[in-house]
Point group: C2
Chain length 259, copies 2
């Protein structure tokens, strides 16, 4: 397993590379992450760089109702095709960045800890095998929602609006390649208290199925992110509170809702 990160160094330069989780050192790479990047001889102590969102998606696709446990709790039938909304590129932030409350909104803001799929190859109408090969790796996600807007209009569920605000797509800290999602859990804590702990093998559509079926809906390109949906335990974040989303092998993504 390799952990890829993007970072800003002390001089403000943006780079990317691999993270050695034990030595807490970053080895910088040259080129582009999705096209045979080459290691340099530059390395940093992790504490000397600022982590950024590990990729820059052209679009973020966020699933709803993709876990059996939540589907049963909501008493909604499992879907026949991934149900999704699109979140804009400007909604993305990285580890440690603040989630900002929209100026126009005073209601509840919800966290959703999730697995994120990072696309590595352009794909369209991919088979499940081709989809598997198009997955670069996996990251942690906090899919943030201004939950009171979702059903504000009785005629139109406002998924894109309630989830599309700047800073509402938290990604990171790394993209793990060679990650076995079947053995991992998503653990979400709010101010240090565990709120979600669910197994990824409870997914309705596996990552490769998601990529295959969604690639029939639109061309996916390197860096695009599919948020796999959340399971039970979603709740709201008080202003100033911090949310951690942890997946063993990927790391812990921490973001605070600005006070």
């Amino acid at each position: 397993m390799t952990n890829w990160i993007r970072f800003r160094d002390a001089e403000g330069r943006i780079g990317f590379g691999t993270l050695d989780q034990h030595a807490l050192r970053v080895l910088q790479y040259d080129g582009t992450l999705f096209d045979k990047p080459k290691p340099t001889n530059i390395s940093f102590a992790l504490e000397d760089v600022t982590l950024l969102a590990p990729c820059q998606p052209s679009k973020v696709i966020a699933l709803w109702n993709n876990y059996h446990a939540l589907s049963q709790k909501l008493d909604k039938a499992p879907p026949q095709h991934p149900l999704f909304l699109i979140k804009p590129p400007m909604s993305v932030i990285g580890p440690g960045e603040a989630i900002r409350r929209p100026k126009s909104y005073q209601g509840k803001i919800a966290y959703e800890g999730e697995l994120g799929i990072v696309i590595g190859k352009t794909c369209s109408n991919a088979t499940v095998d081709e989809a598997e090969a198009a997955i670069f790796g996996y990251t942690c996600v906090n899919d943030v929602t201004a939950i009171e807007l979702l059903q504000e209009d009785p005629n139109f569920a406002q998924w894109c609006r309630s989830k599309g605000f700047d800073t509402f797509s938290c990604l990171g800290p790394s993209i793990a390649t060679g990650f076995d999602w079947r053995r991992a859990h998503v653990v979400t804590t709010l101010e240090g208290v565990e709120r979600q702990n669910y197994p990824l093998d409870d997914m309705i559509f596996t990552p490769a199925q998601q990529v295959s079926m969604i690639s029939a809906d639109m061309t996916l390109v390197p860096g695009d992110v599919i948020m796999c949906g959340t399971s039970i335990g979603v709740g709201s974040i008080k202003d100033g509170a911090s949310v951690d989303v942890s997946i063993e092998g990927i790391g812990t993504l921490t973001n605070r809702l600005a006070a």
Copy 2:
């Protein structure tokens, strides 16, 4: 009024510039469209270039229920805030490009003739006056929909999926600056037969109101497009049929659904 276009010349180079609608000549500009472009001394006959989508949005925001006439016909209350979905960048095509039926879909495909707002300045939480100043110009839109997918799942309206397919956001032929939308109509013809003809001054949210309110939901950046929603007369396109969306002052956007 100025009409800005993007084009590919006979040598395959991509450029942009202004179109003289009477002389049918294109004057090429240098720089970037949204930041003081400079005229060159290169010009082309319109027939010697291939028009492209006039801008390359980072996101396309498509409104639902934004005309009084359609809102009354559907018996839905006018919304309090623009109701929108997001279409991905890869959905965009230009004038003359083919709309492609998704391989996975055999159902009806609908046209929607609309006005498109093209953003010229980054804006966030803009007042209506600031929003007006952030509008670069206007284009014609065909907001294409795989209509039978929209309500396929009883629990989740699939707006992003049904409208997000590659080639489902037709834009062009030009971006008109100094365009008075209050005096214009959208006219949509299918195989040369008029199907929509509605006045833009029937909009529920004006363009500046849309930009202002949506900029409270997400940062808008130059080149982003807001599709203002459609009015009555939407219908489906047979394979091989051609749709024209015309707005006086902007031009006629023609796209055929590939046979």
